[in-house]
Symmetry: C2
Subunit: 210 residues, 2 copies
Amino acid sequence: MQSQIPDVVIYRLPFYTRVLTSLAEEDIEVVSSQDLGERLQMTPAQIRKDLSYFGKFGRQGKGYNVKQLLGELQQITGLDREWNMVLVGVGRMGNAILDYGKLALRGFRIVAAFDVDPQLIGREIGGVVIQDISELADTIKQQDIKIGVVTVPPSQVQQAVDRLVECGIKAILNYAPFAPRVPQDVRVRRVDPMLALQTATYHLKSLGTT
Amino acid sequence: MQSQIPDVVIYRLPFYTRVLTSLAEEDIEVVSSQDLGERLQMTPAQIRKDLSYFGKFGRQGKGYNVKQLLGELQQITGLDREWNMVLVGVGRMGNAILDYGKLALRGFRIVAAFDVDPQLIGREIGGVVIQDISELADTIKQQDIKIGVVTVPPSQVQQAVDRLVECGIKAILNYAPFAPRVPQDVRVRRVDPMLALQTATYHLKSLGTT
DNA sequence: GTGTGTGAATGTTTTCACAGCG
DNA sequence: CGCTGTGAAAACATTCACACAC
């Protein structure tokens, strides 16, 4: 039924690719799980175990070849290719995301943006022309897009997500502070600075004054 | 240290307060772990177990009083008060955050912002005047601030974090794509949309074409 | 009857510790 | 030697299932 590779492990892979990328930039050729562990603040054993789910990438007595391991991990995570995305909801946040150039550099490119506001349709932001939401299905199917970014107001999130799912979107980056309901095979990832703060205050509480 | 309450539980508390808040707004007075579970897409048992770490808030055969439980949880999480924060690094992201009004409504208020760029010092954004970084220590100590938001370029994150920690900051909202090193008693929370995307592509890979 | 609170059971993740390879 | 890869053990988290309170 399922992949038997724990989700937590999948979640950690991008961390590995990031450190390996910067090691590669420093022209470091070989790295041990020990080194990696220090840079990532995790135990060497965990790193070795994680990697072992996918294969044997290291050499005993030596460590891992940085470039080779990086390549393997990029392939495993699917970060070796470009991913096209659609964005739904060109409000404040959607605008900022469209206007932010660096996404594409990292392999994620917003190729289409949608809104319901007639005022916005036809405008161009960050090289993307805003289309009417009614064109969503066609665009997604034509370009075989699998990732959607949802930046509509909270009250419309579920509806927007439903539409995306109907169109065959399989991963959603959600900027709303709650989890929309989706079928099991669709992944939702939440971006929620507020939540991050709210999980920190518990520990601050016990810290006297203010 | 006698925390004994699992971190995962602490992380879930804000979700409970959010649903309870919206239930309260709908004037719903009582809720069962069953109901909560459906809304949050988690098992009733987990909710009951989580809550049991902090006390007995429910009534058998009935459920939980929404307002009362909300109050308890806000107190437990420290969300029953206002938190003042400083922001370091008024670049693109820092600017956006300062300009974003709603933070304060949710109990978090940025009361001071800092940068090293002389061009920026003295400017006002979102009601906050940008100060020179040299004034950081004084401001934090005078106002007994415990939370810092770090939006400096990646290469300067560790330095900025070190300064904040020296000044007594105990929680940091980090917008950089890596984890700075901090003492054990300082919590760092990362906001990282890129990471969110990167954890999703693993599952998309196996999905044919594109 | 209904739904909480909770030990006990089950499932999952991390860590240990060491055989074995280079 | 040094460091990987990995079963086995330990730690941790979730779910079960039921006594008990309303």
